[in-house]
Symmetry: D2
Subunit: 296 residues, 4 copies
Amino acid sequence: MKIESLRIRKEMKVFDLVEAFTLSAFNARRLGDSAKLWKRMIEDDAFIFFTFAGAMIPAGMREIISGTIELGFAHSIVTTGANIVHEICESLGYSHEIGSEKANDPELAERDLNRIYDVFIPTSAFFAVEEFLSKVFGEISGNLSSYEILWEIGSKLENSFLRVAFEKRVPVFCPTFHDSIAGLHLMLYGKKVVLDYKKDIKKILELCSQNRKMGIIIVGGGVPKNFALQSMLLSKGFDYAIQITTDSPHFGGLSGATLEEAKSWCKIKKDAKVVTIYCDATITLPILFAYLVDSI
Amino acid sequence: MKIESLRIRKEMKVFDLVEAFTLSAFNARRLGDSAKLWKRMIEDDAFIFFTFAGAMIPAGMREIISGTIELGFAHSIVTTGANIVHEICESLGYSHEIGSEKANDPELAERDLNRIYDVFIPTSAFFAVEEFLSKVFGEISGNLSSYEILWEIGSKLENSFLRVAFEKRVPVFCPTFHDSIAGLHLMLYGKKVVLDYKKDIKKILELCSQNRKMGIIIVGGGVPKNFALQSMLLSKGFDYAIQITTDSPHFGGLSGATLEEAKSWCKIKKDAKVVTIYCDATITLPILFAYLVDSI
Amino acid sequence: MKIESLRIRKEMKVFDLVEAFTLSAFNARRLGDSAKLWKRMIEDDAFIFFTFAGAMIPAGMREIISGTIELGFAHSIVTTGANIVHEICESLGYSHEIGSEKANDPELAERDLNRIYDVFIPTSAFFAVEEFLSKVFGEISGNLSSYEILWEIGSKLENSFLRVAFEKRVPVFCPTFHDSIAGLHLMLYGKKVVLDYKKDIKKILELCSQNRKMGIIIVGGGVPKNFALQSMLLSKGFDYAIQITTDSPHFGGLSGATLEEAKSWCKIKKDAKVVTIYCDATITLPILFAYLVDSI
Amino acid sequence: MKIESLRIRKEMKVFDLVEAFTLSAFNARRLGDSAKLWKRMIEDDAFIFFTFAGAMIPAGMREIISGTIELGFAHSIVTTGANIVHEICESLGYSHEIGSEKANDPELAERDLNRIYDVFIPTSAFFAVEEFLSKVFGEISGNLSSYEILWEIGSKLENSFLRVAFEKRVPVFCPTFHDSIAGLHLMLYGKKVVLDYKKDIKKILELCSQNRKMGIIIVGGGVPKNFALQSMLLSKGFDYAIQITTDSPHFGGLSGATLEEAKSWCKIKKDAKVVTIYCDATITLPILFAYLVDSI
């Protein structure tokens, strides 16, 4: 099949650009192929995990995450403690600010601004999170999974992907909840709560053993990637997988590992269709989402 | 200023997505900022260099290059010998094919297919280039710059950015023309031609010394980046610069060097506005182009 | 100060090469500077955290980790569940094998070989781990931190960095213990055990609040990096920090974040000396270790 | 074959570390394998090309380049104009300085310091180069290849790899000579000289067609990589190849292209032994060189 030179038209839609990408090369083609594969997962009525690591919430991806849940583009989420904390900041009305990676960090520290590359967030936002979580954690008790705690949190928030997940009973797993400011607060204020990851594992193993096509979208490696892939060890393996990463295979770490490698572990089926995009997810995730929105 | 969560609408245009990117973070924001900066260069009536290295032509970017010239988004081009050769292939009716980076290379060699990551091109295409160039080179003589040779080639082709450049008298510099299959052909068939880069240098120095705002768009490093930036050493420096790269500053090479570094060399003005996008250009260049098409 | 051209002598020692690197540039200089900084931490009698993510144990770094503990180059370890599992494999006599990243993964799956880039490990090794852990987990009970569980495991192994850590009472934190095969086994066989990360957090907060110089060596990002850095939020911040990473700052994720960024969060002191090496740790960690061995 | 855990001994030599690396993984193993392969090329009496791009001379690699020629580790060099210019600076007694990538570039510009990542060089060094080259170029005339011009330059310098190359009649190809400050000087002062790359191409084609094993060491991509590999298009292909790069295959550019890809083009033989190291060459090149010094 021929590579077709990209033809850009006036008022071109994201959807049409993505379609054109499938006949180009390198990561543009991978982006196009991923869009079609995600769409196919939905059409095949697959159960889809969506994992994301990296500072996606600070970078402005909140509504894409909540839209992904709301529109049924994914049926379970796995993310990091940091993304949860920053989501709560935003839901409580605190904003991340457009900053610069060239800022003087000791000076930022004196101004109570915390930096995430080119994003700033004032320390006051975390005080608000602490106040909010101290109440939530004070009211709950017992052995709880991360997804149960997150539903509880979501039930208390407006305007958050955690709220949408709560309402739709979509499990949001956070296997690094304890490795975040929220984890420190749980230790301080959740005296009657035991964060019991066994329950998370039990739940995700159940989800993985459904008699249904299984798909996964992996944004950015780390524990979310490993936690979801590993849960397939006791089941049949994923039928489709998409990965967006800025890491490379040749350094040997899990975050950059190819999806093919996961086939040797039987986490992904031998004949599964897989696509990796080597690109910053702040660019590619919105494009994939826009494609799906116009596909349904 | 606040980071605004990206809001994806039905039938969203590329233009609107790019606008939204300017209020996000990381490379999405850099992409948005670049689009606005390129637009401003055009509005300010700047003279704009566009340099590109990497296999952009094989990857399907031909019409974007020719559109860039045609629509006045750039006024001079600097590229590699390889891109010129592959452009001639396409103009002569030979296509690059959708291949796979996992192909068995010795087998491809036996099938006379040459691989560029996930793109294949048959060796027969290069025979056609040889036949074409042997005629062109047989008819010209004297000390010629690369841009003069490329206008000559462009005059003999239909459907090519080289044709458009010829018609609009836009200089296309190719400081690595000799480092390509075309260079081998020049040696074999252009007995009466001397490829005289001094004429290229003289011409680009003239262009750089215009009494006019000067801008540069750099796609992918290498000699094209260096050749254009260095030509400013004897002039005032660029007023604006955009760079799309997948390289990183911390390895010390020129391709990954920041645009700020170029300020220490006075190739870019001290107060120039500069933006670097760390991303595969097959994704970002079409997006920038689509933005400009809707801006004019 | 001048850059000194590297002078390689016959029978040159690693130590002398590293010394020479401090007068070169790019990542060689960073490697040299890191070696001197780690040495200085030891001379200043600092308390040193050593965090490592990525497949360091499969890659043959076991004795460097155990030497680091044994020789007092670090006083607390933070690592991933995967490294723990692979360390147990090795201690039980199962070897990782020299493989190839070009292997056919579905075929490996059929041969019960699991791939980690260019390393293979047979599934049988994990059965041995399961048998071993089922016994260990069957004998313990109560709310236990990851470092207590790892001391317990270490006490049952010969020839392991976990054994050395047990004997020297060096805490090995594993905040992703549950996100590993060992975590699955804990769920299955450790019915009377609650993995209580609150105890890990409490302990590491105590370590961070010592009235003593505090240093950190970060190999490869991820949760280990975040867990250790974040524990300084309630204390004074690290006095020195070294980072070895193959990630880049410009994608906005934590693993690639600069150590300067951590200063804005007050995790590292404003005037702390910090060095990042952008390089595969399989090359640089052994070199740093060899330098230290010859420094004491 | 088993991965052997690295065992670091007191006073360990670089040679022994490299030997140990061959039984490890990831890029440490690649480094070990490369060392053995380069050694084998020498033992097999192969003709070896050594290409280098990137700021190797500013970074302190001068004596490694001259040693490579002197000790017969390579028999022809291909490099960039920039490395030639910086080599002349050093030979004329001007030093590169230990700088910082965090410097303020506009301020550096005002102090007449030019930055190459964390290296500074004063503008005065380039004035000395200009004075030197104006004399050299004033005394020569006719159609000259880059390697002839470089022998001429080498004959006028003490303490330079160009001097060693001149004395040993080792051709140093510089296919981007015109794309450098030296190229500007040639235009200004070498009125009677025509830089004739056809002669370079003719010479390198001859070298490539020797009836002898052919090897290549590629440091850092760019035109030097392409120029040497492409010269094999008309011959049998390389028998062995080593590549040190910080680029990645998945962006589709030549600098990151695998050596396997070059097999599809018949630039490298189908059954050739090839190794790529993904690492900063400032670290790995000295290590390879130290290994060879102890091997002969």
